[in-house]
């Protein structure tokens, strides 16, 4: 009897690449002091974690990211709901939204610094702007996908427009909204770090730039590894929450497939 394979080939590849990293650095294949072995990077990571420096920096970055995500996501849902229920507002504000959307977000950091300074307010705003658009687009798509019968059902029971919006439209659109939020989440981490790198003295982004100036390669890579792990954990955590929040959606999907 064969034992079932525990690790998928993808995990094996990751382990292989990490081993290649260690070996290539030890044997100095790159011929540069800026390619430290993985073991040194992990040691630096452990040191920075145990000293409390990295957790504090990462905590700050995550907190600003979460605040921006909450603000931008909420705004995206509310504006989407408004656009969908009052078409006049979509006609009025739609072009403005479409003009702001394509601006590369890092480009708005310098002007925002002038108004909001270098710290939390600016960074949260930048993340919120980033998170806003995917959620807005998906909210509108989700609302458009709500069946006319479902809404008529609410009307026949004498349920008013506000309650219909909150108890029928919003839950029905939630799978779409969450898909948008997941895109926003990935972008939010990126943008939070970029904003920290551009301005101010906060968070993992600023730490990365400092370590680069100091030429401390192991610390740079430690921060990169920490960010990779954070991003991965955030996405996995979000997927788990999504599975719980819209279990019915996945159940319906399975039914449709099988």
């Amino acid at each position: 009897m064969r034992r079932p394979v525990r690790f998928s080939s993808g995990v094996v590849l990751v382990a292989g690449l990490l081993a290649l990293w260690e070996v290539s650095a030890r044997l100095d294949w790159m011929q540069t002091p800026n390619w430290p072995p993985l073991s040194q990077v992990l040691a630096a990571l452990a040191r920075d974690i145990l000293s409390g420096e990295l957790p504090e920096l990462a905590g700050g970055t995550l907190l600003r990211m979460a605040a921006g995500l909450a603000a931008g996501g909420t705004a995206g849902v509310m504006v989407g709901l408004l656009f969908a229920t009052l078409p006049l507002t979509a006609r009025l504000f739609g072009p403005t939204v479409e003009l702001i959307r394509p601006i590369p977000i890092p480009a708005v950091v310098p002007p925002l610094v002038l108004f909001l300074g270098l710290d939390d307010a600016m960074k949260v705003t930048v993340v919120a702007l980033t998170a806003f658009f995917p959620v807005l687009t998906n909210t509108m798509q989700g609302i458009a996908a709500v069946e006319a019968e479902t809404l008529a059902m609410g009307r026949t029971f004498g349920i008013g427009p506000l309650r219909r919006a909150l108890r029928i439209t919003l839950p029905a659109a939630l799978p779409y909204i969450l898909a948008g939020l997941r895109v926003s989440l990935a972008l939010a981490l990126v943008v939070a770090v970029v904003a920290e790198m551009i301005a101010g003295e906060q968070g993992l982004g600023h730490y990365l730039v400092m370590m680069q100036f100091a030429g401390r390669a192991p610390e740079i890579y430690a921060a990169v590894v920490a960010l990779a792990l954070l991003g991965y954990a955030l996405n996995r955590g979000f997927l788990a929450l999504e599975r719980r929040a819209i279990h019915w959606w996945f159940a319906l999907g399975r039914q449709a497939e099988g």
Binding site: R167, P171, A251
Partner: protein, 257 residues
């Protein structure tokens, strides 16, 4: 006493090129309090449009709809619409109990709504299914949930839009028996739209037959079969068979009406 009155109801939809498309032309009918009326017509003749206008879900282009003497411009509390597509009218994120409670929780609060919902589920033969989700149930059971939800609102009238057309033939008989029983017990007024001649004769006191588009009243047929009826046995009565023949001939345009 007439409970629902349609007076010269006309429905037109705007047409980009040319005059508006008229789908319903001067339809008048009255449903008496406690009466079971079926609306029968060929597919696509606008039966559902008629029902939606009667429910206040769709504005009329001309004419008037009255329920209990009041002119209807929005869904009235006395009448509840039961949709054909239970998969679209039930909320998949709510369990069966809270789907039924949805009809009344905005008026009674969630706790009271749940109690009422449990009682209604018992009445449609779904006791013990409150914790299930709609998509875990068969089509017939889902339509029972939709019926329980309609009854929870305690309407005087049900407006039913081909409610049994999406289920298999045996389940349909089952649901017809259920609706006959509920109608008699609750002394409801029912207007049921169908393209199933057998269903119309089995259930209704009178049958309003509509023409093809634009729909007009073709005929009002008195069924006259004795009550209580049985969803199966009633179909063997000679009177049933004669009426069935006559209505099918008319709908298939085998002879001019």
């Amino acid at each position: 006493m007439d409970f629902l009155e349609l007076d010269a109801v006309t429905k037109e939809y705007p047409n980009r090129s040319g005059p508006p498309a008229r789908v319903m032309d001067q339809v008048s009918l009255s449903v008496r309090q406690g009466e079971f009326m079926a609306v029968l017509g060929p597919s696509g003749c606008g039966k559902s449009t008629l029902l939606q206008m009667a429910a206040g879900l769709l504005p009329v282009s001309d004419g008037t709809v009255r329920i209990a003497g009041r002119r209807i411009i929005a869904p009235p509390p006395e009448a509840v619409y039961v949709f054909q597509q239970y998969t679209r009218s039930l909320l998949p994120w709510r369990n069966v109990r809270d789907n039924v409670g949805f009809a009344i929780e905005h008026r009674l609060g969630r706790r009271r709504a749940r109690e009422v919902a449990e009682a209604q589920l018992d009445q449609v033969g779904l006791e013990g299914f409150g914790d299930h989700f709609p998509w875990q149930l068969s089509g017939g059971m889902q339509q029972r949930v939709a019926i329980a939800r309609a009854l929870a609102a305690e309407p005087a009238m049900l407006l039913m839009d081909e409610p049994f057309s999406a289920v298999d033939a045996l389940t349909r008989l089952d649901l017809q028996a259920l609706i006959l029983e509920i109608w008699a017990r609750r002394r409801l007024t029912v207007l049921l739209v169908t393209h199933d001649v057998d269903e119309a004769i089995t259930l209704a006191d009178r049958i309003a037959v509509l023409t093809r588009r634009p729909a007009r009243m073709a005929e009002m047929v008195e069924v006259g079969l004795p009550r209580p009826r049985d969803a199966v046995a009633t179909r063997e009565a000679p009177q049933f068979l004669a009426l069935r023949r006559r209505l099918l001939d008319r709908l298939l345009l085998r002879h001019d009406g």
